[in-house]
Symmetry: C2
Amino acid sequence: MKKLLIASTSTVHGSGYLEYILPTLTNFFKEASTILFIPYARASGKTYDEYTEIARKAFATINKEVKGIHEFNNPKEAVQQAEAIFTGGGNTFELVNQLYKNDIIPDLTKAIENGIPYLGTSAGSNICGVTMMNTNDMPIVYPPSFKTLGFIPFNINAHYLDPNPDSTHMGETRETRIKEYHIFNGTPVLGLREGSWLEVNGDSIVLRGNYTARLFKQGKEAEELETNTEVSQYFLQ
Amino acid sequence: MKKLLIASTSTVHGSGYLEYILPTLTNFFKEASTILFIPYARASGKTYDEYTEIARKAFATINKEVKGIHEFNNPKEAVQQAEAIFTGGGNTFELVNQLYKNDIIPDLTKAIENGIPYLGTSAGSNICGVTMMNTNDMPIVYPPSFKTLGFIPFNINAHYLDPNPDSTHMGETRETRIKEYHIFNGTPVLGLREGSWLEVNGDSIVLRGNYTARLFKQGKEAEELETNTEVSQYFLQ
């Protein structure tokens, strides 16, 4: 049974890496002793080693070992043999590029079908959607496709931000960007605020954390979903 | 001789569409009676007709006629016959997608070589760079390439924003995103603040407007360029 945590961010303001979600992770990863870390998104341009070290330190506090996928000779085998998987944030274009380059999409799909627990934060959450088309990231590399893992039947907009009524900046708001997306695409989008995450168990998808999330559907007014809502009911065909 | 105005934004806070730059445009377009408008970026999801109407109204105040490229049977011929060209803002991915789909990149290149004056705002400025890799836009469509017109030897980050020291938001700052870009790419990037533009005359590229612009080069500290600076000197090989 599919078992995912899809988080808006790794870090909330004023707190350490993954700190806000560690109690949840202790339970979520309770059957794993080692977590495979996928550092391909290279947050702030960190090297794979530097980035893996940050994940390693955070998980050491709940007695989990972390191995970077780049430490294996064969990344496909690393995924196939993983007890648990964590994909960190950074740049979604580069992350998706590396998923294709290393041909691990089929292996990730298989692992998740087999019930291997998966944690994503930010870019690592974007790739759980149908496409990466609602990332906020800069297109610093050209991936072979925008299609992603499709573990959930909608897309994620991570770090969702409400329009700032005091702003004098003329760049598009997040909501405007997502409405532009729906001119060209039918897949719904869930705007996840920092500190929110989705808990996926099989077909159940529940919103967790302290905030509401903003649901955008083509041709409809956006709506706010309360925390602890069973989100999957909004996507029944 | 190449003759371009490359503006960060069409509109500054508290003022009408193109209003801040109309005095400059009166002189820039003095030899044209009709301006070809390229509405492909579809700001806020507007239709081509709606968007063209907005440009038409602004240019009517300086006695210029505006024709939308979509009003022509053949967009390539529309570019070939244009007296002056204006590409508006919106979504850069969709704009670039349509440039390729309508195969007008060679025609735009030729027109600019022949001295046809070109105005770009926001997305319409991004495409003047070497690639569209420094857009802030959402990847709502998958264009066949990120390569753009290369009228200038660097990329543009339009609507450039300084980091906000009071922000509690954990998403990347603009500067962090551009630094991530430079891990993978060598082309320099100029962050153009809203109200700034570049005036290109042949090989000369001068920063205009009331603000400094922020120049990012691979492996170097970012630097602020003063307004009225001859920017091209920073890109001599």
